[in-house]
């Protein structure tokens, strides 16, 4: 696959990460490792801190204490740092991290193609023509080759999310973070987005950390499932084990509630 040059690195390593909003401790000295090339599904009740984990890895949130490494480089944004701005080393490490958001967050003022080329051109210094060619290939990959010149407002939610996935791939990331990427979609559009993620997983070595409420998807895509509650990891292991035969009582309760839903 030429579009996807997923490089398997050493992945993500979070150690003792604590994140507070005022008095509320969202992440409580959490440890979480994702090996290079591994696909980890992060599940848990709302408010358990799943999304916050992704946002801390993406440096969208500052942490109180702990360490977050991407491919071996310390990148955590510390709450007591004088500036929220990344150093050159951190910025370089973060270039390998892509994130797909629940609300897609495409740039509405740009065409689909420009959404895909702006970062490679402006950040990586890729030649414009080359960036467009690569973007066209990625749009084909997500089944939207015909929408290159459309504006996001003209696309369905599912199409927008597929473009957002292609946009993150355009930066040739080694780590991809998926933040409840199907939660904002109408039920009939969920399938097409999950299918695209499955395709990317099958055709690349990209490390994936996927926050999801879709248990079947978590089971299919995950090399490992991590169950979180109260800001720390409660249980983790192979999907068939954690989802079908969990050991921890809290995991059992969470899955039971999902089934009875």
């Amino acid at each position: 696959m030429t579009e996807l040059s997923g490089k398997a690195g050493s992945g993500i390593a979070m150690a003792g990460v604590t994140k507070q909003y005022g008095d509320h401790r969202v992440l409580d000295a959490i440890d979480l490792d994702v090996r290079g090339g591994e696909r980890v599904a992060l599940i848990g009740p709302s408010g358990s801190g799943k999304t916050t984990v992704l946002r801390c890895i993406a440096r969208l949130e500052a942490i109180e204490s702990g360490s977050i490494r991407i491919e071996g480089h310390e990148i955590a944004r510390m709450a007591d740092a004088r500036s929220g701005k990344a150093s050159a080393e951190v910025a370089a490490a973060m270039r390998g991290v892509g994130m797909v958001f629940q609300q897609y967050n495409l740039f509405p003022n740009m065409t689909v193609l420009d959404n895909l080329t702006i970062a490679p051109v402006k950040v990586l210094g890729v030649d414009k023509a080359e960036a467009r060619e690569r973007a066209a290939g990625l749009l084909d990959l997500v089944g939207l080759g015909a929408k290159a010149d459309a504006y996001p407002a003209r696309l369905s939610g599912g199409q927008q999310q597929r473009v957002a996935i292609a946009r993150s791939l355009a930066m040739q990331p080694s780590v991809l973070l998926f933040d409840e990427v199907t939660s904002a979609l109408d039920p009939e559009l969920v399938g097409e987005v999950l299918e695209v993620i499955r395709g990317v997983a099958a055709q690349s070595d990209v490390t994936m950390l996927i926050v999801t409420h879709e248990m079947q998807f978590a089971r299919d895509i995950g090399d490992r499932v991590v169950f979180m509650e109260g800001g720390s990891v409660v249980e983790q292991g192979p999907p068939e084990k954690v989802l079908a035969d969990p050991e921890n009582e809290r995991t059992q309760r969470f899955l039971r509630r999902l089934l009875n839903h």
């Binding site: 701005k85 495409l106 740039f107 407002a153 003209r154």
Partner: protein, 219 residues
């Protein structure tokens, strides 16, 4: 109304149009710069921009005009009435426009900044390619108001001897050449007509700026 009177009034209209156009040209880059300074990461820059805005909003445009025209020459900076007129009107309007632009910048949804941040876009690229293009349709209606305010405030330049629309009409009225009722009715209608292209242009720009943002309409 004889031809001399009519000619001088039309000349006045042209001067008013020139003053307003030049004032807007002065205001635009200043307003953008000050708005960007208002949302700067640096406290000192933000503070300086705030002082600029509050000083200009807190002192009257007329007093600013008098100060520049009558006091600056005392300090050794002679300035023509025409230049003083459009510069003061432009600088004054820039304070209001800066606040409009700042508000529109802050109205761009935070997730847009997060998406730009995760893609690694620099602050400059994020501002010029993501934030400002999305803030543009938001700021346009209020910027149109500021432009119309500039037009209306432009009558003040008649008080520092600029032969604008107001000065020419009142000149003929006070000398009894034209009737007072006619004179001031003419001014009333004249300024209204002058505001039409501004309003119209604003609507056109607004419509254009929104064309890609809605689900329906022209692609």
């Amino acid at each position: 109304m004889n031809e001399v009177v009519l000619r001088s009034i039309l000349d006045g209209v042209v001067v008013t149009a020139e003053v307003v156009t030049l004032a807007i040209l002065v205001a635009a880059p200043l307003a953008l710069t000050v708005a960007l300074a208002r949302v700067s990461r640096f406290k000192l820059v933000r503070g300086a921009a705030l002082v600029y805005v509050e000083f200009l909003r807190g002192t009257s445009a007329l007093v600013q005009l008098f100060w520049v025209y009558f006091v600056l020459p005392e300090l050794g900076f002679a300035i023509s009435a025409f230049v003083a007129g459009f510069v003061v009107l432009g600088v004054n309007a820039s304070a209001y426009a800066a606040e409009v632009i700042r508000g529109a910048i802050l109205a761009v949804p935070r997730p847009q900044l997060e998406a730009a941040g995760v893609l690694g876009l620099s602050t400059t690229t994020t501002m010029s390619r993501v934030v400002l293009p999305q803030a543009w349709p938001v700021m346009l209606p209020a910027l149109g108001n500021v432009a119309i305010d500039v037009l209306k405030a432009s009558a003040l330049v008649s008080l520092i001897t600029v032969s604008d629309f107001t000065r020419e009409v009142t000149r003929w009225a006070t000398t009894g050449v034209i009737d007072v009722t006619l004179a001031f009715s003419l001014l009333l209608v004249g300024y209204l007509l002058l505001s039409v292209p501004i309003t119209w242009g604003g609507h056109l720009l607004e419509k254009r700026s929104r064309r890609h943002l809605s689900t329906f309409g022209e692609g």
